[in-house]
Symmetry: C2
Subunit: 414 residues, 2 copies
């Protein structure tokens, strides 16, 4: 059984994801699909609109065979560590032959060339990157320009002109860098994303829209009917079930009270001990929040935004505060030592035999829940905390019962 | 102008307080009354039912001339530091000639004798106290027994039989100990509390009921009419105003979401860095809260209560978590260095001239708000944080505007 690995958030699983899943299986000639999926908090520093079990169900119903969880320690990170966590996990399963990601161009060669360069970190690479960041550039732009400068210096003008800073090129590049660093055996592939751009907010196509556009539609209209054309029938059914239970999609404003309470009792020093709080952001935050004109997270983000601090960076900072993610748990060393367990969120019938094979082939313990791990894993504790914080803000959550789902729920089977 | 100092919470100001205020002025032959009053969080680890400005108004309307704030760093503490902060503040005003507290017996002599003993801390005093605490006794009982053992050992049988462990005897004793430690010049007095016992919860008398009984009545019936017989007309008027504004009394359950969110993202280590979290309480807490049968603070307290951990001790622990009070801000050394500023909450016409005199006589800077202190005071920062946390949970608070009342509000004038 040849298996392809995908790195996903599925917030929610839509027609674009279905296309990517099928194309990935096709070009890698895979019979089975493993998805490593973020849990309750996502790469752009947002809570997922639907809890991880609901999204795992969408993934399985949409064609995945095995869904494993990307720990929140990696899931809510910038490209470098997000990619490192995800690629390490896929590799650690021991059953994934290839991994395939969507990019703007669908071209692997320039990304591989850049990954070779970046993974080696030639002399002055970090210092050049740092100097670009210090001019106030965003990370993707600075990273992209650093690579372009190196490619140019060695005369590779065509590769140097490649738009490395497009969102999926940035992510893809970091998948390949991570893959080189861990000396991964999986074969990398990329396919061009179809029809919808990563950040696109309006819906321009009959059947494929970006997850951003779908989320916007869901929140604005509140009418599921409107997103029906853009998601598979299987996703639509899951969303209808949630709707019938009276559970609306989750968003940042549901965590407003918790975040503001945390800010109310935090000193600048305490904040500065948290991940993503750097360069005096603690002072700007503590100054800004009690003076907001409008009493919302959205208004706080608008008020903090600068050229340097993208909304994504700021959302990750707020998330770090919400979850109390201490820098000491996120040192280079701890992150680089990688994921320490493979947490299964769900599997299909085909996934069941894949799971069986994984249990002997994996280089890490395979966990069916957060209960009774073979030893204490700090990042698993953070996953449990993240679930609890998520449930406390989720409208319609059953409290306290839902706080313990990480211990109690068995993987979703479809 | 001869002035008496009182140490108060006024939650709310009732007929018993009025009696105490008048008796205190009478026996000390005082023309003016200074009250040092807790802010938004009280000695038993509870939020005040009415904000500090509202309670300062009650105090002034009831006969106080000057109300100064006991910083939360001392206000939400066990007897020892509560007393130390309050007595230090009164002494630091430079205008208070006497201080007077209510006790069960109204007898000063045994308390003075015990204070002399305890303030000197004779050999083995601390170790005897510690060994009694280790048997699981509550602090007041252990402290009382230690003193009794010493008095007995030196043959003073009558003093040894004095009930030092009654709540107001415990507090009074610590006022006197603090007074000795700081070599206070104020003359101490005590008067017997009339008619209502400290913790009494039912109302047995026509005009005097304990604040506990009044609070219970307020929360149970929600009808202000019911407490009317037990409070001065001036208090009743203030409470009616609040009622007319649609602002109900504040209680612990209003902080449930904030506390549970904080617990959801706290590690045992993080909790153990907080004041009042000792002897493994962090583990019991983190184990208990996600498993509660009933989703309330009351249920959490019931579940944690043991002979050793009184409800008061546990409420203070939860408050420390709610407010994020780090042990490092509450070392013996930092607490003993005492209050560093005198924060005026309100004054009467007579208080105005007292205030003028205080400005030159006080040994500490006099602040009319938290804005622009002469230098940064850590305990003032904690007061500002406490107000913000309080306002975030207070029903009817105007957000974000009320978050900044500590900076913006001038003292109440009556």
């Amino acid at each position: 059984m040849r298996t392809v690995g995908l790195i996903v958030e599925y917030n929610p699983f839509h027609n674009g994801h279905l296309y990517h899943l099928r194309q990935s299986a096709k070009i890698t000639e895979a019979d089975a699909v493993v998805a490593v999926m973020s849990g309750h908090f996502l790469q752009r520093g947002e809570p997922a609109m639907w809890d991880k079990w609901t999204r795992a169900r969408m993934a399985l119903a949409g064609g995945c065979d095995l869904v494993i969880e990307l720990p929140v320690a990696y899931a809510a990170q910038a490209a470098e560590w997000f990619a490192y966590g995800a690629v390490s996990l896929l590799e650690a399963t021991g059953v994934v032959d290839a991994f395939c990601f969507g990019t703007e161009s669908g071209r692997l060669a320039p990304l591989l060339m850049a990954a070779d360069l970046a993974a080696d970190e030639p002399p002055d690479f970090r210092s050049l990157l740092k100097s670009k960041l210090e001019t106030g550039q965003s990370y993707p732009a600075a990273y992209s320009e650093t690579i372009q400068a190196y490619l140019k210096a060695r005369g590779d003008m065509e590769a140097a002109a490649f738009p490395f800073d497009q969102p999926n090129h940035t992510l893809g590049l970091h998948y390949l860098i991570a893959h080189r660093r861990i000396r991964g055996a999986m074969k990398p592939y990329t396919i061009a994303r179809e029809k919808a751009q990563y950040n696109q907010t309006s819906i321009t196509d009959g059947a494929i829209a970006s997850a951003t556009a779908i989320r916007k539609l869901t929140l604005e209209s509140g009418a599921l009917e409107e997103i029906r054309p853009f998601v598979p029938a299987t996703t639509y059914e899951v969303l209808m079930d949630r709707h019938a239970d009276g559970i609306p999609p989750v968003h940042w404003e549901h965590y407003k009270d918790a975040l503001f309470h945390t800010l109310s009792t935090s000193s600048p020093h305490r904040l500065s001990e948290l991940r993503e709080i750097t360069e005096g952001l603690e002072h700007r935050l503590l100054h800004a929040w009690p003076e907001l004109q409008e009493w919302s997270i959205d208004s706080l983000l608008a008020c903090l935004k600068t050229k340097r601090y993208t909304r994504t960076k700021l959302q990750r900072a707020l998330l770090s505060i919400l979850l109390g993610h201490a820098k000491q748990d996120f040192t280079q060393e701890k992150l680089a030592s990688g994921v320490q367990y493979i947490r299964v969120l769900g599997f299909s019938k085909k996934g069941q035999s894949l799971l069986k094979r994984m249990r002997s082939a994996a280089s890490l313990p395979v966990l069916m829940s957060a209960a009774r791990p073979p030893k204490p894993f700090r990042y698993l504790e953070l996953d449990v905390q993240a679930t609890r914080a998520y449930m406390l803000g989720m409208p319609g959550a059953k409290l306290p019962s839902d706080l313990s789902r990480d211990f109690r729920d068995k993987p979703i089977m479809i």
